[in-house]
Amino acid sequence: MRRQFKDTTLDLAAKDEKVVVILGDISHFLFNEFQQKFPERFYNMGICENALISIAAGLSAQGFHPFVHTITPFLTERSLEQIKLDLCYNRLGANIVTTGASFDYAWDGATHHCYTDLAILRLMPGMEVTQPGNRKELDALIRSQYNNGKPTYFRLSDHGHNLDLPVQFGRGVVVRDNGANVTVMTAGPILSNVMEACADLPVNVVYFHTLKPIDHELIARYRHTKILVVHDAFGLHEAIHEVPDLRTVYHGLPDEFCVWYGTVHDIRKQIGLDPAGIREAIRKRIHD
């Protein structure tokens, strides 16, 4: 997905002289071509995430469309007040693009994990929050939102799903509707594990790449079913509950740090977010 981020911004920068890329000393080799083509609009500004967000706000105030990029927890949790005040309170737009998601940096340990970015950013007034599931979704979401004057969050992962789904900002997708009385709702790359888990199970599957604004109308259509929210982060479950009178169960992160290393797959397996663990949760929801 990071490569797509580079490809999309490279293309946009050629068409729109207001596009500026600011890196927090991550992905700089990936952006070599961007730097060569648009040296005045490329800054590997350093490991100073608070300043990166504020500087993006300043650029936005003068009409630019900045993309700020580094590792997820450092740009979101660490810089939450800069996002809240310099972008949201001052109503200045910027594109916050992170890499690492929840556990892509599994073996770096919990300092590099991020559990709350989606949950906290959707609480910021005026913020748009997306979790693209693959390259196609990322490309479409960036193109539709990057220059709308609002702060928009794009949470990238190195492990996208391989489903080819329609992409429209703010709209969820019915991946499967069996007329079942259980609906699995999920977001982002974990969709691949969800689909493997429920291949032969009688459930509907509803998918979101946009968490804010969440698609109220689509969620309400499944109000009559038992809902299982499967997500490898916080934020989706809370967003779904903007729609009243739902019967949901959350299958996702525990209320503790995931203190193992290995790979994203190892951690997902440990906390029941591998296909087998998700399948078990779905079976339980079907029978409860």
Binding site: V20, E40, R41, Y43, M45, G46, C48, N50, A51, S54, I55, A56, A57, G58, L59, S60, A61, Q62, G63, F64, P66, E81, Q82, L85, D86, Y89, N90, R91
Partner: protein, 258 residues
């Protein structure tokens, strides 16, 4: 004290007296700095959105009453509106709101933000090949924030000569985390640094108009409550206080004698 300095301080005292709110000592320490900026930068009170204007950001947002008084003096606000300071439906809060107050370029309050946004604006002007300039006023207490130094490091690395940082060196942090030698600190970060008496309007104007080889830091040595000995001697008591009628009369007498 110049007549201008006395006039602005009188506006601050009257607004604090009328409204029941105030950050008088910190507002008094920045009066000459604010006046020097508005006397030298390109701006048009009749057209606050003029697209060739320079930008001023009050990063230490708690000096807003001083900023409002200066904005009123230069014609951005009716002077009588200062008396609404802090009222429920007033445009003039304890910290400035860019959507409410003409001439306010950024809503500030939490410390360590305005200076970094100013860096982004200065970079934007450079990218636009615009001659517009950015000025930001920070506090020495504010300079406890790490984000101030992130911003200064980026600004000097990018050699943003169109950015001027004014430090209100009023020694308010002697009680906690002071900067022993602020000029040395800013110079160490790469700034083109000038030290001045922060209550000398002409010296400040000279510092703001001299060409700079890198981001300009103006270290303005100031006194909290400057102009009224009562405020200077009891600075902590007066930090957020509004004067009662007899106190107001005394402060005005002191100010007129300054």
């Amino acid at each position: 004290m110049t007549p201008l300095g006395r006039e602005i301080r009188a506006l601050i005292l009257k607004a604090s007296r009328a409204s029941g709110h105030g950050h008088i000592p910190t507002s008094f320490s920045i009066v000459e700095m604010l006046c020097a900026v508005y006397e030298t930068m390109k701006h048009d009170p009749k057209n606050p959105q003029w697209d060739e204007r320079d930008i001023f950001i009050l990063s230490k947002g708690h000096g807003a009453l001083g900023l409002y008084a200066v904005l009123a003096h230069y014609g951005y606000l009716p002077v009588e509106e200062l008396n609404t300071f802090g009222a429920f439906q007033s445009r003039l809060g304890c910290h400035p709101d860019r959507f409410k107050v003409p001439g306010v370029e950024l809503s500030t309050g939490s410390l360590g933000h305005g200076i970094a946004v100013a860096v982004g604006m200065a970079l934007g002007f450079r990218l636009q090949k615009s001659p517009r300039r950015v000025y930001t006023l920070i506090g020495d207490g504010e300079s406890n924030e790490g984000s101030v130094w992130e911003a200064v490091a980026v600004a000097t690395h990018l050699k943003l000569t169109n950015l001027t940082v004014l430090l209100d060196a009023n020694r308010s942090q002697v009680r906690s985390l002071p900067i022993p030698n602020p000029a040395e600190r800013f110079a160490a970060f790469g700034c083109d640094t000038i030290e001045v008496d922060g209550h000398d309007l002409e010296a400040l104007k000279r510092a703001l108009t001299q060409p700079a080889t890198n981001t300009r830091a103006v270290i303005a040595h100031t006194i909290k409550g400057y102009g009224c000995p009562t405020l200077v001697q009891n600075v902590f008591e007066w930090h957020r206080k509004s004067p009662k009628p007899d106190e107001f009369e005394k402060l005005m007498e002191e100010l007129n004698a300054a």
